[in-house]
């Protein structure tokens, strides 16, 4: 049965680490950017209060789901996602976009690795 060990070890290695977290980093990047866009449009009076509130709530819930799913909770990108979650509901779009940009850099470096 020892011949099974190597493929199983390889499989285990593949299911952890930054590469495995790539979908969640990508989701978090998008969610931060969506939040920024919502806040930007809200500040211009283009959205209804109900839409703003429900969308912000959805963004937070999904960010929390992404954060919990990470296999490397102490990594730099995990801390970045936690930093997004700490932002207030009405955070400045520029701040949120800065978070999204940093997560995008992580995404790009993992994709090209």
């Amino acid at each position: 049965m020892r011949w099974l060990l190597l493929p199983l070890l390889l499989l285990a290695a593949c299911s952890k680490g930054p590469e495995a977290d790539l979908p969640y980093i990508s989701q978090a990047r998008s969610l931060a950017a969506e939040w920024a866009l919502i806040n930007e449009q809200a500040s211009q009076g283009k959205l209804t209060p109900t839409y703003i509130e429900t969308m912000r709530k959805s963004v937070r819930e999904q960010l929390q789901t992404s954060a919990k799913a990470l296999s490397e909770p102490q990594s730099g990108y995990a801390k970045e996602i936690q930093a997004v979650l700490k932002e207030p509901d009405g955070a400045r779009p520029e701040e949120l976009r800065a978070h999204a940009a940093r997560l995008k850099q992580v995404e790009d470096s993992l994709e090209s690795a």
Partner: protein, 411 residues
């Protein structure tokens, strides 16, 4: 051909074209790949027009819907495999539509999602109980025309028209990494699946029987499938194009279905937002009705039960119980808390796998002169039909590997 009936039929097809899967994948495709996947929508729409026209023609001439004749062609065993596969994929799609309705109502009202899911099922079921077939179809299709705000929004944001139109040509963007290429391939398969959902053929052909189509309605059938579906597809392409212009440069995925409504809010403010949300609501509600009835049609026709909403609910009792059961099962799936986006992913995955088994009997039937007489497929329908059959078969084979390799298009 009654011009008013034809116009209403086209408008219904336009308003009823987009469902939650097309909404999600159009927005994501635009953000990730710009205008480069417009051709996938064009290709899928041509395929849908080809198979839709065939299924309407079979209904009008053979006077039997696709599933009746499909069992006869495939036999009991293979027919059961097709039936079960189709029931599962359409049930998941129905659940995605019900979840989509609840989400959109949440954005409109702020009320809790589970409560809105229950309310959605009650209202949609009530409409299916009370209204005869024609008015079920027309109500949702015509109200779904509010989605036109997305097309108007695209014009208002002044996209690069040359690039947009260029996106209609099949292409592979240059400079994609191997991961991005896999994602691109996955999106092609997902878009084809979302446009060519099997339930659309079952619903369309059964609808033709419900409306008593005959040889005199063949032109109506052809015009609805080409003009109606074509214009409907423009709404999906509008969502893609606006996403390419507005979301892509800002790193927005989007991950939340409600974000698509911003495409109309950005140029038009609150009015645009409301029209977009209401249009999405009725389009998705219409799709919930279609998927639910499609499953009830499929099982009723397969076992030879009385079926149809041209009859009162008690005149086709097993059909009535079947659609009620489908709605309740869809609601149960939604109430388990599974994410709507995940349901959409599973729906497109299962549907593309079932598609070849759906379209093969339809092709064989539409070619068969003993059923279709002088209205059997001529060279163009035959050629296009077989071409698209090969395309959907290739897509079906590639679907699961691509889904696994790309984590559902996200990595």
């Amino acid at each position: 051909m009654n011009p008013l009936e034809l116009t209403l039929g086209i408008m219904t097809a336009v308003g009823g074209f987009v469902d939650i899967s097309e909404l999600v994948f159009a927005a994501k495709a635009g953000s990730m790949f710009g205008y480069a996947l417009i051709w996938a929508f064009v290709l899928g729409t041509i395929g849908m027009s080809v198979f839709g026209e065939m299924s309407g023609r079979v209904a009008a001439i053979a006077k039997q819907p696709v599933f009746n004749l499909m069992r006869h062609r495939l036999g009991l065993k293979l027919g059961l495999v097709t039936l079960i596969g189709s029931l599962i994929s359409t049930l998941i799609t129905c659940a995605a539509e019900v979840g989509g309705m609840a989400l959109i109502l949440n954005y409109l009202t702020g009320l809790p999602y589970p409560l809105l899911a229950v309310a959605s099922v009650i209202v949609v079921s009530a409409s299916m109980w009370v209204l005869p077939f024609k008015w079920i179809e027309r109500t949702y299709g015509l109200l779904g025309l509010m989605m036109i705000v997305f097309a108007v929004a695209v014009v208002a944001i002044h996209p690069p028209w040359a690039k947009l139109i260029g996106g209609a040509v099949p292409q592979v963007p240059s400079g994609l990494s191997s991961k991005e290429l896999l994602n691109y391939s996955y999106f092609i398969v997902a878009i084809l699946s979302a446009v060519l959902f099997p339930y659309e053929s079952y619903f369309y052909s059964s609808g033709g029987i419900e409306e008593g189509w005959g040889a005199k309605d063949l032109l109506t059938n052809r015009v609805t499938c080409t003009v109606g579906f074509g214009l409907g597809s423009l709404l999906a392409i509008s969502i893609l194009a606006a996403s390419a212009q507005l979301f892509g440069p800002l790193n927005v995925g989007p991950e939340i279905p409600g974000t698509s409504a911003l495409e109309a809010a950005i140029p038009f403010g609150r009015v645009g937002l409301m029209l977009a949300l209401l249009g999405m609501l009725f389009a998705v509600a219409g799709a919930a009705v279609e998927t639910c009835m499609s499953n009830a049609y499929a099982v009723s026709q397969f076992f030879g039960w009385e079926w149809g909403r041209h009859a009162k609910p008690w005149e086709a009792p097993r059909f009535t119980l079947a659609w009620i059961a489908v709605m309740l099962l869809a609601l149960l799936i939604v109430l388990t808390g599974v994410d709507v986006m995940s349901l959409v992913e599973y729906a497109v995955l299962f549907s593309i796998i079932v598609l070849p088994l759906t379209y093969l009997p339809l092709m064989l039937l539409a070619n068969d002169k003993s059923y279709m007489r002088e209205h059997a497929n001529k060279w163009l329908a035959k050629g296009l039909g077989w071409l698209f059959f090969v395309i959907v078969t290739c897509a079906a084979i590639a679907a699961i590997p691509l889904y696994l390799l790309t984590s559902g298009g996200s990595g």
